[in-house]
Symmetry: C2
Subunit: 310 residues, 2 copies
């Protein structure tokens, strides 16, 4: 009983699996869940997730805001259905190449394209893994691709997760530019240029030497996609792990989740004050270091100058 209750499908997820009660009596329906979700997705694609209010969706369909609640129990459910619909199922293209590596790369690229098409998906809260048909299909596709490898089930999931996460991360960063572009009316490229200029202005070699070095190498002006490099490294890593297994190497020992000390979570006043003190000390340290570097640099210059003049 408590078991059945415990595993009962949450409202929104049930809707996503198409468990919809079709009523027999009463006036004919003028809308449908599908039309509502379509309208919402169109709004979000065009003007971002902020443009999706119950009122706006209803207006787009020519109805009053409250009417939507006959179809969608709450906005949260609508958002879930939007995700599900926008995600779709993985295209067949990933079956074309031979070998897990090329297939997984295609799945990566398709996911990135998904996020480029629907950047708003990335600003929705993630509530665990959404157990919906389409997300399941994507996960299934990744796992299926990896079934030709000697990885065990857990490793396959971890590898699939890593690639998915990287695609998402790529999407997040790009969506950031898209979003800013929408706000400012500039093109994403202009935003990137402006951002590079800001970095250039604000980052001093004394404080952030490695970052400054990167800026001087014009990495932020680069038009290359760092995420492409990233996936290749992930795929390399999986590949070399597989090579290790094939060569009779042992598996990685499963590792525990990272955890923070529960005492920290308890919100103890003394702990918090101590942490704050640490933060301030770190800040002071950083400032002192910066001054030290500056002083060293100046001293070097003073020592160097006479030689130059003489």
């Amino acid at each position: 009983m408590s078991d059945a209750e415990a595993t009962e499908l949450p409202r929104g997820i049930a809707l996503a699996w198409g468990v919809a009660a079709n009523p027999q009596r009463g006036p004919k329906r003028e809308m449908s869940v599908e039309r509502i979700v379509d309208a919402a997705v169109e709004l979000a694609d065009a003007d971002g997730i902020g443009a999706v209010s119950m009122a706006a969706v209803a207006a787009r369909l020519g109805f009053t805001p409250m009417s939507l609640y006959r179809y969608v129990s709450a906005k949260e459910d609508l958002l879930l259905l939007m995700q599900e619909q926008a995600m779709g199922i993985p295209p067949e293209s990933h079956r074309e190449p031979d070998g897990w590596r090329d297939r997984l790369r295609i799945l990566f690229e398709e996911q990135v394209l998904l996020y480029l098409r629907h950047p708003w998906m990335l600003s929705l809260p993630i509530t665990g893994s959404p157990i919906t048909p389409n997300s399941s299909a994507w996960l299934d596709a990744s796992l299926a691709v990896l079934e030709e490898t000697p990885l065990n089930a857990e490793e396959r999931l971890a590898a699939a997760l890593a690639v998915t996460g990287h695609a998402r991360w790529c999407g997040i960063v790009q969506a950031g530019y898209t979003e800013q572009a929408r706000g400012t009316g500039l093109s994403p490229e202009e935003i990137a240029v402006r951002e590079a200029a800001l970095y250039d202005r604000v980052i001093e070699a004394e404080e952030f030497p490695a970052l400054r070095h990167a800026i001087d190498q014009a990495v932020f002006a680069s038009t290359a996609d760092p995420f492409r490099f990233g996936v290749e490294r992930i795929l390399d890593g999986v590949s070399s792990y597989i090579d290790g297994l094939d060569a009779g190497g042992h598996r990685d020992r499963p590792q525990e989740w990272l955890e923070i000390d529960p005492a920290e979570l308890a919100g103890d006043r003394r702990v918090k004050d101590a942490q704050k003190a640490v933060r301030e000390a770190e800040k002071a340290l950083r400032a002192a270091r910066k001054l030290e570097r500056q002083a060293l640099k100046d001293a070097h210059e003073r020592l160097a100058r006479p030689r130059k003049i003489g």
Copy 2:
């Protein structure tokens, strides 16, 4: 002129760099930006980002909502400052081990811990890279660690980005559980168990064979952290790339960003309708496949049974 204007610091970012005008006249200030941000972070840590309203922050400090606007120009700026403050600077621990690999792993773990401490950071919108002192410090640390490798500047950035992204992804997934736990009053472990049960109930072998297989291998009941496996693969990948360089191999050619056809973005009606038709066809295909598999399975059983009886 337009150059100076173009690279002017956005309000919030200026605040983060500590460009604060201290007024000479008027009544003494009773609050400070710092106290406001502290209060907001405490609220968010305790009850999630949803608990952070201007009114709630003000109430926690014993003031009226509008008073905050004397210190923080808008909620958006407050959120930026919260991020900056919660992030802090990377701890010194990452300098202890020798070798980029162990150091980068520590930076990964520290970032994950950060997100465990402040899960709300992950539900804030990302607007490009926030060019603030503390985020710069983290990026600088990653880049500095990689300076001992033969990677070039762009590759270093890409590698740092990959690790950061993976930490973030790890945080996102864990924060999902934390968030759900807050909502339902259950422990994150119970949520995970419930989720595994849901998967088990809903995923059929006919529709998602690889996923079903994973479920049967109890991967969702596992207590191991798939992200630990993930970072190791990323580190492996970077490592083997470096080995390749050392062995005189050539670099990956820089690759372009993924893009979607602008025609798609234009929101053309015909294109959209066509896409919708594709979606529906895919759905039908999926259903047909499922039936096919089911039929095959049934047929097999029918063929197998007589032999059993006879």
